[in-house]
Point group: C2
Chain length 219, copies 2
Amino acid sequence: MDSSNKKKRTRGRLSREMIEDAAFGVIEREGLAGFSMRKLAAELGCEAMSIYHHFPSQAHLHEALVDRLIGSLEMPDAGLPWRQRMHIAMHDFRRIGSEHPAFAPFLVTYRMNSPTCLAWLSGILGLFEAGGFGPELSARLFRTVGYYLMGAILDETAGYAKGPSAVTTVSDEQLARDFPNVAAAGRYFGAAEFDRTFDLGLDMLLDEMERALGGANSR
Amino acid sequence: MDSSNKKKRTRGRLSREMIEDAAFGVIEREGLAGFSMRKLAAELGCEAMSIYHHFPSQAHLHEALVDRLIGSLEMPDAGLPWRQRMHIAMHDFRRIGSEHPAFAPFLVTYRMNSPTCLAWLSGILGLFEAGGFGPELSARLFRTVGYYLMGAILDETAGYAKGPSAVTTVSDEQLARDFPNVAAAGRYFGAAEFDRTFDLGLDMLLDEMERALGGANSR
DNA sequence: AAATGAACCTTACAGTGTAAGCTGTCAAGC
DNA sequence: GCTTGACAGCTTACACTGTAAGGTTCATTT
């Protein structure tokens, strides 16, 4: 009789993990600005308000996504040389950005104050300290590579290569005529060059750091 | 008589410039997310839709703000040495970010395709080329310092020093106990250290660039 | 069997960007 | 001086947002 086939009311269906998974999906499909609790609910086959039983607000959900990504990172093997460990750690972080391009701008704007994020931050500081840098230089150099890393992720996921954003866009002809050096540089701004360009700058910074280290404790 | 003192209907009151000025004010007061066409209209003493006679959409308005800021930049005096010019240009860009901290995250996420922005981009590429770098290296090194610059602006305007963003924030006691190196580094993460830290990283990059230059054309 | 409480849904509200159309005002042409 | 038309700003309306408040259903414990 009552044939309530309208909805399979399987209870306890939702979980934080399921919601997070779906949220990544919606964000990558609709973009960060196009994300909404209602779209997420549609993806999950539930109502928007059901999500609020697992996350008290959209902000909490978004922060949980950051925690999820940062929490998946592991510090590189302590047996490896300092420089290699730093190189790996930077590439690891960059990878979680490139794996979630639409979410990446949120990731780099986020202020890392959760235990998970602080643990990662602490680990990176530890890499510098293990490399021989004192507390002050470790802090400042963390900032330096951090700036570079965040800027790189931002460009690679939301920058020039994603196409024009400006309303008054210049055509290719205009570009070639008015700004020939920009037109020529465009060849090196594409996604195909991301890896090489990133490593170029990262190696420059790490070179300088090793130099500072060599000067400090003479090899 | 007719005492229409309700509203001074001065015609042609609004202008793009006035609207932009007011928009900067609203953004800095309410934050980028708290900005809305209605709040902007309230600031201007008009209705929201009136703004659409001067800017076809909010996106157009925001992009105009970027153009306004970038357009205010001038390339450093061509008589100065290469490195000094680059230093000045980086600090100039950083300054427009720090002068509009709430707007800065939009500035660094923005894809610069307007003539104004391309002119700036072209100028910076020109600085590298004038410094002796070829087209490819100029492009890649522009990216390198650009990554660093954007990341720095992001942190200085919206980062750690602005306080916790995470929902599950750790207390100072927890921080000191569980992540003592982060607690110690906090001393160097505050706004008071921004200038020193920024110059440290920038000088590292410029040192490396000069080194590459010296190797290429032997002094 | 009754009660409890978690999980989920329904409704509602204030706020958003902006499309469509209206109105009052000023400048130019007769 | 009068008309006309364009322009600048206003009004209304719509689809959409996050989420507060409260209702409903069901699994579990007693």
